[in-house]
Amino acid sequence: MTDSKYFTTTKKGEIFELKAELNSDKKEKKKEAVKKVIASMTVGKDVSALFPDVVNCMQTDNLELKKLVYLYLMNYAKSQPDMAIMAVNTFVKDCEDPNPLIRALAVRTMGCIRVDKITEYLCEPLRKCLKDEDPYVRKTAAVCVAKLHDINAQLVEDQGFLDTLKDLISDSNPMVVANAVAALSEIAESHPSSNLLDLNPQSINKLLTALNECTEWGQIFILDCLANYMPKDDREAQSICERVTPRLSHANSAVVLSAVKVLMKFMEMLSKDLDYYGTLLKKLAPPLVTLLSAEPELQYVALRNINLIVQKRPEILKHEMKVFFVKYNDPIYVKLEKLDIMIRLASQANIAQVLAELKEYATEVDVDFVRKAVRAIGRCAIKVEQSAERCVSTLLDLIQTKVNYVVQEAIVVIKDIFRKYPNKYESVIATLCENLDSLDEPEARAAMIWIVGEYAERIDNADELLESFLEGFHDESTQVQLQLLTAIVKLFLKKPTETQELVQQVLSLATQDSDNPDLRDRGYIYWRLLSTDPVAAKEVVLAEKPLISEETDLIEPTLLDELICYIGTLASVYHKPPSAFVEGSRGVVHKSLPPRTGSSESAESPEAAPTGAPPSEQPAVIPAQGDLLGDLLNLDLGPPVSGPPMTTASVQMGAVDLLGGGLDSLMGDESEGMGGTNFAAPPAGTMPATLSAPIGGGLGDLFDLTSGVGTLSGSYVAPKAVWLPAMKAKGLEISGTFTRQVGSISMDLLLTNKALQVMSDFAIQFNRNSFGLAPAAPLQVHAPLSPNQTVEISLPLNTVGSVMKMDPLNNLQVAVKNNIDVFYFSTLYPLHILFVEDGKMERQMFLATWKDIPNENEAQFQIKDCPLNAEAVSSKLQGSNIFTIAKRNVEGQDMLYQSLKLTNGIWVLAELRIQPGNPNFTLSLKCRAPEVSQHVYQAYETVLKN
């Protein structure tokens, strides 16, 4: 006799059978039938067709049956609003029932039915229930206000329910108080400006009283609410702390952590000389440690929070290092967090133990964990100076294991140790060099190259080593390329006589053969430095480096203080303030954990240049150096690249002169050849020729844009997405989208300053791209952007910029400059912003062109789950400049023939097959440049589905 019988189906058809049973006269049979319905519902089956039959069972004395019907109603009322109204009478009647359980059940269920018509009837019963004599009904009604607010906020305000709810904070029953606080907190969260929970000493006192008597969950709500209160002086803070401390011994870990939050926050106000301050510190340690003996999921959240607490007040847990030692059967997410905290707690007193543990971990099986353990050893060396020697010898032992990933991690951290303690451990370089061949990860290679360059004078064969790296220069990642460039320049400055060839080679590789603006820029700067003033170059390149800081991964103090206020919340798990990820920021995925350590990260451009693109596809006519130089200089000056080519040319000539002359003086006769190649750059006058590049279409077409008569409606605009997260851009966050309206394209940007300093002097520039998109005006940010300020900008674009085929085709690389730095990011633009307004082809022309384009250029796609009919489809597409030329009906299928034209004059012809009743369409695209088909299809998808 188990419930699994409810899942068995019969041949006749389940719904039919259930219907008969629900209408049975026998009570027992009815109940069984409703149970079957609920069982189907729990596994996500749709049983909404039974709605009237189930509602008929509602009027009953049997409480179980009533509850079951209510369960059903909550799930399906929304889909059957007219039928749901049938239930209202019973609800209203039940709200008057003498049994408080039934009154509460009725008001609770009514609040869960998210149907406007029912909500209207809910107000009166709810008002009564909020003042019910039975506290159970009152506490249920309090939550109901929050439900109603979620459905219809205005109604709740108009009916004065919020005031009634505030009154409930002074209710005599602690459970009612707790629920009122919970409801108000939830409402306040959706209305941050409303001052719902204005706490004063009196209400605080009531909350503290209720705290002792309500359920564990109620305690969490009350503690979280208390944490928002600002005591007027230290005495009040202390008295609140005293009354909150007993919660630290609660069995529910959420209560404990919420109490910790209140204490951590109010401790700020207490003087450190106070005896009570010391007592409180001592009391905080045991509950935090206890959290670590709970289930692993709880441990994880606790560890993320402890990580914050340890940064804020390291003294609390300084004696508890051992509880963070890793057990081999801990889940990996617990292991990694424990390791992080171990480093934070490492000090001279316990470093021996910590190192012994870390060495043990470095021989474990899990690769991620081992890597982090090796890295941790390096961090210990940097943090505790006395241990550096031991750490280095431990790392050398680990290198001897020859386990590939261990060796690579070790080399990365040894580089940091060199930077922290210069001229101390260089004797190990020989050992490092032995392992050169096994390094296959960019970070390790870059670290090794840095070491070779930095200590070139001590390594006899430094030039050979670096030369061996240079062979595969183009296959290296940007990080390695940049490092190699710098290292060779260092080497040259140290041993100029033997390495001239090498330096020439790397400079030309970086400046002539690379498309990465970072690399090019750095190459040119070195080149110019070396050529104009070798002495200055020495001063710049071989300058004394600042010692790296003790802890590169500490959370910024202001952010830390903010996060301490969010202990126990999601923000504390992600170590980000809630503003960064809760609500409002639709579509933002924050999966990253706190930023990793690594001093070389800043040198790395966040977007790797598309070095992978096959060179044969690149337009050959692009005047490589001239253009690159233009980029470099323009970036310095600010205005966008769209200016006339002639100005660029003149600047370029000047720069080349400068370079050539200077180099001569440095290199002597040998460099003549190189200077020569510089001058060999084609004159800038050939610039427009680049437009003829990959996808065809004449120059004239490009200007169609301006003459095109646009329909007034704009095409579909995707929601803004974050393009440049603040983490990667020293606090500048950029999100944006592309729009096309009345024939003009623009890039709508949202710049947010998440740093602590004012940002100004913004400029933007695009790398060459497939369709020549370029800013039509400079980036206008009128006032400097102060911290936490956001500004919205619409940047008009044109399509007369220089063209280079990108992979993917719609990739756009953007550089944004401000007073702090230059940042790079890349984004994909939806192709439909390039569909021009005069993209409607003549019928005859269409037919001819369709035949003309070879069949191998035809591509077929499926558009799935689109519920529209042919008319709706064609009007929707028309809004985005996809024009329907003809419509035919073939064997019950609608065939739409459509055309569109891209800004560079490429025509795309389409045949869209729609079968009535079938939400899946077939799209056939024909185009002379078949590589755009995929993106046109994506544009179709986007337009149709939004």
Binding site: L71, N99, C112, T215, W217, D224, P287, K327, E364, P578
Partner: protein, 418 residues
């Protein structure tokens, strides 16, 4: 607050869903499956996952995933604690928390979930309140119900729901009044290669089984309460009395519950009742190695150590093991590479040992990592911390209850590095 709950079994089927607000599509679980795939091992799935519109907070219990969907900022611990409470409740109602048990009682499960949360706010999570609202299934009751047509849903407001002691209902009656306490201590320890203790602590709990009529008021005192400086209490315990007198004073819930849990930290000396002598070696460039472990008693306070099991995760290159135990039996699973040796109890005259050969994959390099030994054991009639109950007094009721205390020490996460 908690929006929805999905129950997922190990093969990735969503076999139950419950929504407390609007319905969230099952497809949200795809993000969870993605994370599960990435984690490889079920135990390594991160408990908090963010998706574009929701957060998924999950726990893994009894081979089931409880995945909750969150839309607004909620304390994750609150959600995790609640999910564990849900699993506890299933365990309590059905005797086990398994897919089969849940499917067999799907209607009760649904009713329970509805009773436990309202609009995402916890409503009734105390077992005794739930049991008054929805009676647990028993064979007898379902037979009776099907004959008389009565239901297993209570139709009066549970008395505990609003009182200051929500954990106890009024009108409890027993013919035999009894109060039993189990003092259970688990030793968590890491022992290094040389046999010295890297880390050790005791995780203790006192579980109670109280079947007393009426409203008894109990006081439990200890011989050495100073040991307990890091404790978590059941809400029934009066904190003030503990602070001032170091006495546990409480009106108990009815039935089984955890009265306190405590930790005796590593600063105090934690006795380690067993030692392990081991020698595990792999020869360079040969496809075999030697394995030899011996277990012996140490600081066992004169009690017998029993129920000993040793589990070892051998390195991946180990193909098979050919061993001889002096007592007990061993198994080696060549797929998971787990060696399990079921030892039984230690007799000091003849120490149990397990030795023999290890076959390695030929040609593979000698394993770098050394396996850790995971040891389980039990000692009856002993709380290793030395904690002793002094007396139990009852006030408020006139009858004389039966009282009893049992002590047991077990290995928790007890591992020996080699």
């Amino acid at each position: 607050m908690i929006h929805s709950l999905f129950l997922i079994n190990c093969s990735g089927d969503i076999f139950l869903e419950k929504h407390w607000k609007s319905v969230v599509s099952q497809s949200v679980c795809d993000y969870f499956f993605e994370a599960q795939e990435k984690a490889a091992d079920v135990e390594n799935v991160p408990p908090v996952i963010s998706t574009p519109h929701h957060y998924l907070i999950s726990i893994y219990r009894d081979k089931l995933f409880f995945v909750s969907v969150i839309q607004t900022e909620v304390p994750p611990l609150f959600v995790i604690e609640f999910l564990h409470r849900v699993a506890d409740t299933f365990q309590d109602y059905f005797g086990e928390c398994s897919e089969a048990a849940i499917k067999d009682n799907v209607v009760i499960v649904y009713e329970l979930l509805e009773e436990m949360l309202d609009n995402g706010f916890p409503l009734a999570t105390e077992s005794n309140i739930l049991k008054e609202l929805i009676k647990p299934p028993t064979i007898l009751r379902s037979v009776v119900n099907s004959i008389t047509g009565s239901s297993n849903v209570g139709d009066t407001l549970p008395t505990g729901q609003l009182s200051n002691i929500p954990w106890r209902r009024a009108g409890v009656k027993y013919t035999n009044n009894e109060a039993y306490f189990d003092v259970i201590e688990e030793i968590d320890a890491i022992i290094d290669k040389s046999g010295s203790t890297v880390f050790a602590e005791i995780q203790g709990v006192i579980d109670a089984c109280i079947k007393l009529s009426g409203m008894p008021d109990l006081s439990l005192s200890f011989m050495n309460p100073r040991l307990l400086d890091d404790v978590s209490f059941h809400p029934c315990i009066r904190f003030k009395r503990w602070e001032s007198e170091r006495v546990l004073s409480f009106i108990p819930p009815d039935g089984n519950f955890r009265l306190i849990s405590y930790r005796v930290s590593s600063q105090n000396l934690v006795a380690i009742p067993v030692y392990v002598k081991h020698s595990i070696s792999f020869k360079e460039n040969s496809s075999c190695g030697r394995f030899d472990i011996t277990i012996g008693p140490k600081q066992n306070m004169g009690k017998t150590i029993e129920g000993i099991t040793v589990t070892v995760h051998m390195p991946k290159v180990v193909l098979n093991m050919n061993l001889t135990p002096t007592q007990g039996s061993y198994t080696f699973d060549p797929v998971t590479k787990v060696l399990t040796w079921d030892v039984g109890k230690i007799t000091p005259q003849k120490l149990p040992s397990l030795k023999g050969l290890v076959n390695l994959q030929s040609g593979a390099p000698k394993p770098e990592e050394n396996p850790s030994l995971n040891i389980q054991f039990k000692i009856q009639q002993l709380a290793i911390s030395g904690l002793k109950v002094n007396r139990l007094d009852m006030y408020g009721e006139k009858y004389k209850p039966f009282k009893g205390v049992k002590y047991i020490t077990k290995a928790g996460k007890f591992q020996v590095r080699t």
